[in-house]
Amino acid sequence: MTTFLLRRVGGMVLTALCLTFVVFFLTNLDPNLEKLAKSEGSVRMSDADVESWLDKNGFSQPLLVRYGQWLGVVPYKHPAPDSDATVTCRAAEPGEEPPTFCGVLEGYWGYSTVFKDRVGGIIGGKIAATGVLMFWVMVVMVPMALLIGVLAGMREGSRTDRSLSTFSIATTATPEYVSGVLFIVIFASSVGGLRWFKGTATSAIDSGVTFENFTLPVLTMALYGMGYIARMTRASMAEVMTAQYIRTARLKGVRFRDVVLKHALRNALIAPFTVIMLQFPWLLTGVVIVETLFNYKGFGWLLVQAAGNNDIDLLLGCSVVAVFVVLVTQLISDIGYVYLNPRIRVR
């Protein structure tokens, strides 16, 4: 198991390096840098001005060197062209002696041009906010999806199956911006008349999560994601229910309830488990719409801000987080798979 983990972690590091490099390359394309120069300096900069601004801010160094600096394996400094001074780490604490290496590995995630703050701190706060949202979405979505999937799959073709399948297809087919708007109209506005919940989740960040401010965003996301998992679970369950060992159990005199719970469930969960794990990265980016709709300032909202304002360091920081989440959930998924399926053994 340890060897397996070490190999997997090694693979993950390699993947992370490749992915971040791709993102780094794309965000540092010339047009982006020119835009950055003009937004930081002045819109009416001439080409020569842009050139000198980029020089001055260290953007004219080779791409690999800058990637190394961002990563924190190449010393971050470049001579300021107009003076003898050297430009050093901007992400360091005010008053702190700027370190030689100033990269992600040392914990310096760069400096956001939009928020005029260090990226690490900004992302940390927003990730926490989104984490809370994701947690509640998962708490609602996964048990509901599994329940629907198992109930539908245990008697394939029955009335229960057909109604639950229709329901899950309908929820998956309804995009969040449709269901979200509908929910707000029905449950949180004077149009629907039911003012049960709040149409905004802003207050959740300052004064904590309440039933009132969180129900609608959680429900919007959970419903959308649920249909997919439920369909997967149903298919897997239906297949398991036709397996010979289920017949064995039935002809052993096991009660139908126990056939489902004790014999079928664990086997039927193997496939949906991977899907559930894949939902984490999806949630991370999927929150963009819901967070915007319910004005909840989390990771999705941050991503929109970074992309909209050409905030290179912030974008890079966000992608590091996304890559990390994807890789870690896949590792968990593999380990969980081994646990669920005793036929697979890693040593």
Partner: protein
């Protein structure tokens, strides 16, 4: 439940079962009756699709969504099962009626430990506590003779071998001491020696626990060993029923007779008992003929009588509950020998065509897909040496994992040898892959595959597929020439020329295998490797295909390597036999030499394990312990030493230390064994035919 009940355990009266599909009602079982008395073992015999498994599921009242009992009654201990409520049914399933299945791996829950699966039964039906149920499970696992019961209870099904899994399924069925045990082809997926041990166990446990048995099998030999009575089924109907002795020695139905005549018996000489196949094919359930279902294939068919109306079951007077579904049973001369077939003189073997010398094939496997790193070596073939002459049939016999398929792959060039050489007409081909072989070599050594259902491309016509082979082998210069040749090949395998335009799905299994044979002989092959060519076919078709293969081979003076696990058929058609075990050749010699003492101890056990469908045959009973070791981790010394019943006869533990040398016993007869000459000398024949004259 009523423990004091002493009437029949199971009574099936005029049972009709149908499946309802989109195409309408398809009758699967028609007018089926049988009675199983307490402690009695009833055999249900028939070819695939005859409805025997449907009867079993009917007894279990588990016919699925589409199946329904449309007539008749199944009475369990005098009470009609149809009157049971769902809850009552649940209570007798597993406790009163238990079932043992064909595929042990598939019938055990892969994600549940063996212990829990076993303990569940008494916990549900006897209300036992965990501890008590565990004790009971431990006791049952010991009763089915599995080593280290506690460890087994704590393992998952995939950690056991096929034979061990089947023992677990048996233990599970017996956990609640049922009064009726249904065994649905319990040994079909297992090797012969493992099968023999399982059959032994079933018989023994049946006696110990006093359970009645419904034993479903297509193998008449097995039924003879296990059952007291049997019922032969054909196309949904019981055609003959009676006690074992009556049906085996005094059969009164043409199908039963045909079935017996189409199985080769290892005890009998092929000239005394030629194989006679049943002509034609098994009718599909929706294409049954009017009147007698067997009519179109029956030699005694009488137009206007046999196809006029449904045939009722007729009682054979004077016998104990012996019935036959035939109008003419009284008129047929049952003692008449089968129509004489022209006996083909054995072809005189010519020069050596194929010579294999010290062939080795090792595979390197990494232990886990996740880490690679350390590799282990599977020794699939170890110092194989033999030669095969022109027009000779050399049978290669052994159980799964003995390396016979690897040998075939090396010969065909699908794998290259690790060491040694394979000489085809004095040219070493052991290192030449199939892609690098020239057309002539490829055409010269061809194969007939085990499963005819998967080896034909479903989207091309039969004719096109044979033509393609001819094209590849550069036979014929023009398309027209090849077409003519293709039609000749169809003649050769005795299929109508019209078949050239058909698609594979329109052919039956036997016909598909004939196409496979035609393909193999398309390029005038010098050597044909036939890998279990008939084992996937039904019994009545097997004989015809075997016959055809032999005929073509004799005519063309081809060398045939006949790979099989079925000693009966091997005895019937081969000139020489090579027995393999765990990658080694343990015995080689002419058919007479191998089938008569002195034997290699493995051959001896193998012969004893073959079920023989003849009441006059007496066998010495040898049951091997344990399973075939893994080729990844073979035992030191003699490969067979872990299971050898004669190991004690070799002094000084020699078997555990040294691989025995090849000992020549007679001209051309060699065995790989340490046994001293006097022990070999004293061996008695395993199979003996009782001297009693036929009735």
């Amino acid at each position: 439940m009523s423990e004091s009940y002493d009437g029949p355990i199971l009574e099936i009266e005029n049972l009709h079962i149908s499946f309802f599909t989109q195409g309408g009602e398809i009758p699967a079982v028609m007018d089926f009756s049988c009675t199983v008395m307490p402690g009695e073992a009833m055999g249900l015999v028939g070819e695939s699709g005859c409805g025997k498994s449907t009867v079993a599921l009917g007894v279990m009242q588990d016919l699925g969504k589409n199946g329904r009992i449309v007539g008749g009654a199944i009475k369990f201990k005098g009470r009609d099962l149809a009157s049971y409520s769902e809850e009552e049914l649940r209570q007798i399933r597993g406790s009163e009626i238990a079932m043992i299945y064909q595929e042990p791996m598939a019938s055990l829950n892969p994600a549940m430990k063996i212990g829990r699966q076993l303990m569940e039964v008494p916990m549900i039906h006897r209300g036992m506590g965990k501890q008590e149920a565990y004790e009971r499970a431990l006791e049952m696992v010991t009763a089915v003779k599995l080593p280290d019961p506690a460890r087994i209870l704590n393992s998952y099904p995939h950690q056991l071998s096929g034979g061990q899994q089947q023992r677990i399924v048996i233990a599970m069925a017996l956990m609640a001491k049922p009064s009726l045990l249904i065994l649905d082809e319990p040994t079909t997926a297992l090797d012969v020696t493992v099968e023999a041990a399982i059959v032994d166990l079933v018989k023994e446990l049946g006696e110990t626990y006093g359970a009645s048995m419904l034993f479903i099998s297509h193998n008449l030999g097995l039924v003879l060993e296990v059952c007291d009575r049997l019922c032969v089924m054909y196309s949904g109907e019981a055609v003959e029923t009676g006690s074992i002795r009556q049906v085996f020695d005094k059969m009164r139905h043409p199908y039963t007779q045909g079935l017996f005549r189409s199985i080769p018996l290892p005890g009998a000489d092929k000239r005394a008992r030629p194989l006679v196949s049943i002509p034609g094919n098994f009718p599909l359930p929706n294409e049954r003929p009017p009147g007698c279902n067997f009519g179109p294939r029956c030699a005694y068919f009488e137009t206007g009588r046999c196809d006029a109306k449904d045939v009722p079951m007729a009682e054979v007077p004077g016998d104990d509950r012996h019935g036959t579904r035939c109008f003419r049973w009284n008129e047929i001369d049952w003692a008449a020998p089968p129509a004489a077939q022209e006996s083909v003189a054995a072809a005189e073997p010519g020069d050596v065509v194929l010579k294999v010398d010290d062939l080795q094939k090792y595979y390197e496997v990494s232990r886990s897909a996740f880490r690679g790193g350390t590799t282990r070596v599977v020794k699939a073939n170890e110092t194989l040496s033999f030669e095969a002459r022109e027009a000779e049939t050399l049978a290669i016999v052994g159980e799964s994992g003995c390396g016979k398929s690897t040998l075939a792959k090396v010969l065909m060039g699908l794998e290259t040898a690790t060491g040694g050489e394979v000489k085809l007409a004095n040219f070493d081909i052991s290192e030449v892959e199939i892609e690098k072989r020239d057309t002539e070599t490829v055409a010269a050594i061809q194969m007939v595959f085990q499963n005819p259902f998967d080896t034909l491309n479903p989207s091309h016509t039969i004719g096109a597929q044979i033509m393609r082979v001819l094209e590849k082998f550069k036979v014929g210069k023009t398309q027209a020439e090849r077409e003519e040749r293709m039609l000749q090949l169809l003649d050769l395998v005795k299929l109508p020329r019209a078949f050239a335009k058909r698609m594979p799905r329109q052919l039956s299994g036997g016909q598909k295998q004939r196409i496979g044979i035609a393909r193999a002989f398309a390029g005038d092959a010098k050597v044909v490797v036939a890998d279990e060519p008939v084992s996937a076919l039904d019994v009545s078709v097997q004989a015809a295909v075997t016959q055809l293969l032999m005929e073509i081979q004799r005519e063309r003076r081809t060398t045939m390597l006949f790979i099989s696990h079925d000693l009966s058929i091997v005895r019937y058609l081969s000139d020489r036999v090579m027995v393999m075990y765990l990658g080694h050749v343990v015995e080689i010699g002419s058919t007479e030499q191998v089938f008569a003492p002195p034997y290699h101890p493995y051959t001896e056990a193998l012969l004893s394990a073959v079920p023989i469908a003849d009441t006059k045959v007496k066998k010495r009973h040898i049951v091997l312990e344990g399973d075939i070791p893994s080729a990844m981790n073979p035992p030191p010394g003699c490969p067979f030493q872990t299971r050898c019943p004669r190991k004690a006869s070799v002094p000084g533990g020699l078997c555990e230390r040294e691989v025995p040398p090849m000992v020549t016993l007679a001209e051309g007869h060699r065995i790989k064994c340490h046994l001293p000459a006097e022990v070999l000398e004293a061996m008695e024949p395993v199979i003996q035919i009782e001297a009693t004259a036929a009735e």
